[in-house]
Symmetry: C2
DNA sequence: TTACCTGCAAAGTCTTTGCACTCTT
DNA sequence: AAGAGTGCAAAGACTTTGCAGGTAA
């Protein structure tokens, strides 16, 4: 169960940290493939999952779209554009202790939550006006 | 562009309302197929999408899982079990005007939000103890 | 009649996985 | 040497779509 340091693994980590902006697995793959075309998508997926289990990156599961991977940031919420599917950070305070506001958990053990806003991003908005 | 009343369409609507509990397209299909085995999955998907666009049912896009369909309820949040992927309603007040808490929308036009809690459901919890 | 709908199957998107080989340790 | 990791391709889960025939209005 010992984890090894492989080139591919560090390339994946580096790509996520460089891209920053909620990259999809595909974007991570494309980024790496520019310099290291032999890497395979399977490896990218395997490492993205491994690294997010280890807490080195954050996996963002987006309703109705591909998963996104992010460098480890402070907690914050996201917004997804319903037109182009891009994901942006939302500039607002997170709600502290949201889990504690639940009246009756009925035996459900909460480990976290996500808030995802829906809307239309600035780019798509301006395209509509044309 | 006139919508027709077809047997399949009303069966889909009826199944969603009967099942109530955040059924997946597959569960809706299975339910209908019990009595009407000739229905096809493509038709179920097409009608689920149509009915949710019409506002007759609600489409719940779940991060990392199949979409769910629900009868039209008051606004409420959901929790997904990270073990068995089931989805449950959460018994808490919704946060009013969450969109207004955003400091700087930067041109993003918000149309709504989802809050999805993660955790382990009662069933999976008790199985762990065995 | 018309054009909306259906069943079917193929294709599309995103992700995981089996296999044999490779490389870290 | 051992076994974790890799590339590749196939498969898997979920959903959409093209097509030709069916049917509500």
């Amino acid at each position: 169960m010992n984890m090894r340091n492989t080139l591919q693994r560090s390339l994946v980590l580096e790509a996520v940290n460089t891209l920053q902006c909620h990259a999809t697995a595909d974007q991570v793959y494309a980024k790496i493939a520019q310099e290291y075309p032999d890497i395979s998508k399977g490896t990218v997926y395997r490492n993205l999952n491994l690294l997010s289990e280890l807490g080195k990156i954050r996996k963002l599961e987006i309703p109705g779209g591909a998963d996104r991977y992010d460098h480890i940031p402070g907690e914050h919420y996201h917004a997804r554009c319903t037109k182009c599917s891009c994901v942006l950070d939302v500039d607002m305070e997170c709600i502290p202790d949201l889990e504690n506001k639940i009246r009756d958990a009925r035996g459900f053990q909460f480990t976290g939550h996500d808030v995802i806003f829906k809307g239309v991003c600035p780019d798509c908005n301006s395209k509509d006006l044309q």
